[in-house]
């Protein structure tokens, strides 16, 4: 009974939140039509909605989406291989881990994207620059979570492996890796989020390919409604992406 009441209340709250958003949009539309807000700065929300199909067709959104997806894919491929191998290496050599783990953690919070002009000089205004920034941004969480997953393997599982006289490779493949996988996936998800944020951001900053460029193009043409619609589209894509990766992570996480 209490659970049913709680579910009803959470639905009511969600509905209220959505209603407030819709009402706020209507108020903005009304204020713009009355001239209380400047239409040269804020376009009519209805115009923005109508611009969405135009953006999809004119800007070849599917192509831009594919470019961003490809950049994310390449960056994540590198992140997965280098990140997991580095995590394993640091787990295997504890002194190396003790020496470098804080560095890796510091790199996770370092504003790496601010060095994008440096990447432009080294790799040129190409996809490689974007992929490399995505790669470096996504690497620390994968290393740290791989390390955490391997180090957090339950002692009893390791002891069982030892009692069965498993070799080093067998111990890794049969015990350590399966036990660490859920945590490794958390790292991969975080890495993917860092990758996407940085890739879309740099696409916008250097005006090169993908979803970020779509926004830049519209803004440079002073297509107000189009700019807002393109930003809305990118936000929607990001949010959907986060929801999907979160669901996958939850699905992979062992039930306790």
């Amino acid at each position: 009974m209490a659970t049913q009441h709680s579910t009803q209340s959470s639905w009511a709250a969600a509905l209220f939140g959505f209603a407030v958003l819709v009402a706020a949009t209507c108020v903005v539309e009304w204020m713009l039509r009355l001239g209380l807000l400047n239409r040269y700065i804020v376009p009519l929300p209805s115009e923005v909605m109508l611009s969405l199909p135009r953006i999809v067709i004119e800007e070849k959104i599917a192509g831009a989406f594919a470019t961003t997806f490809l950049e994310c894919f390449y960056a994540m491929l590198l992140v997965t291989v280098v990140g997991i191998l580095t995590g394993i290496l640091l787990y295997r050599f504890t002194a190396l881990r003790a020496a470098t783990e804080t560095w890796v953690a510091a790199a996770a919070s370092a504003p790496i994207v601010l060095a994008y002009p440096l990447f432009l000089v080294v790799f040129g205004r190409t996809m490689t620059t974007i992929v490399m920034i995505g790669f470096i941004a996504g690497l620390p969480p994968v290393i740290l979570k791989t390390l955490e997953g391997l180090a957090g393997t339950r002692r009893v599982l390791v002891d069982v492996g030892r009692s069965l006289k498993l070799g080093a490779w067998q111990m890794f493949a049969k015990i350590l890796l399966p036990a660490a996988l859920p945590t490794v996936f958390v790292g991969l998800r975080l890495g993917l989020i860092f990758c996407l944020i940085n890739i879309v951001g740099v696409e916008f900053l250097i005006n090169y390919g993908g979803l970020g460029q779509v926004i830049n193009d519209r803004a440079e043409r002073y297509d107000l409604a189009g700019t807002y619609a393109a930003i809305g589209f990118v936000i929607l894509t990001s949010v959907l992406f986060f929801i999907v990766t979160e669901r996958i992570e939850r699905w992979l996480r062992p039930q306790t």
Binding site: G17, T94, L96, S109, A110, P117, I197, L224, V234
Partner: protein, 267 residues
Amino acid sequence: MASTANVGLAARPARAVGGQADVVAIRVAIIALLVVVWELASASGLFYRDVVPSLLAIGTALVKVLANPEFYHHLGVTLLEVGAALAIGGTLGLLVGFALGGSRFLSQAFEHYLYYLGPTPKIIFFPIMIMWFGVGPASKVAMGTLSCFFPIVLSVASGMRQIDPVLIRVGRSFKASRWQTAIKIHLPAMRAPILNGVRLGLGVAIIGTLLAETKLSNVGVGYLIMQAYSVFDMPRMYAMLIVLFTLAIGANALVGRLAGPAAARRS
């Protein structure tokens, strides 16, 4: 942009398995190796001129940058922009965070929007900020504000929910007023989450502000970096990036230290 760098990535204390001496030796060896590789790459001629300048050239450029009074003018503008962004975004974040953390209904109604909007790349809002606030420092402050609002509001809301109910009950049993409860119980209990939120917010405010400066500006450190890039003065660009990274990481560490170990664990 690395606004989500808050999700369980704090390094745990390194185990002194190999002994402190081994750790120091490995660190020195890694740094020495990096220096040697860098100098070899610089001298090899494999890269375009100055893409990998010698460490001496970078050091000289760093001294020149730090000795130039004009740099401090630009640094001052950037620091002011970041400070204003943190003040505005932090205040808004605190107020909204308290409201969401204090009401289950409001949290269920709005928090998931903030949760999913939080990790989106904020720099894409820059065209809107330019339209609203112009090309001057105000649009950079707005970018920083937008960037730091999300981590602060989420951290405060989550911290508010984690206050030990026993403390609240103790306050009630002492017949504490609403104001006294806020000052004597909520605020002290919220110190770690607030400071943790500010730490995360500061990091992303710096990134948001500086990225905006690199995109469109005629003042600030971001502008100086782009200026060095446009004239291909690589040692100066490296020098400014070193200053920038040192400031960003230093500010982060300072707020982290203020927050104490509890906040570090939360992050």
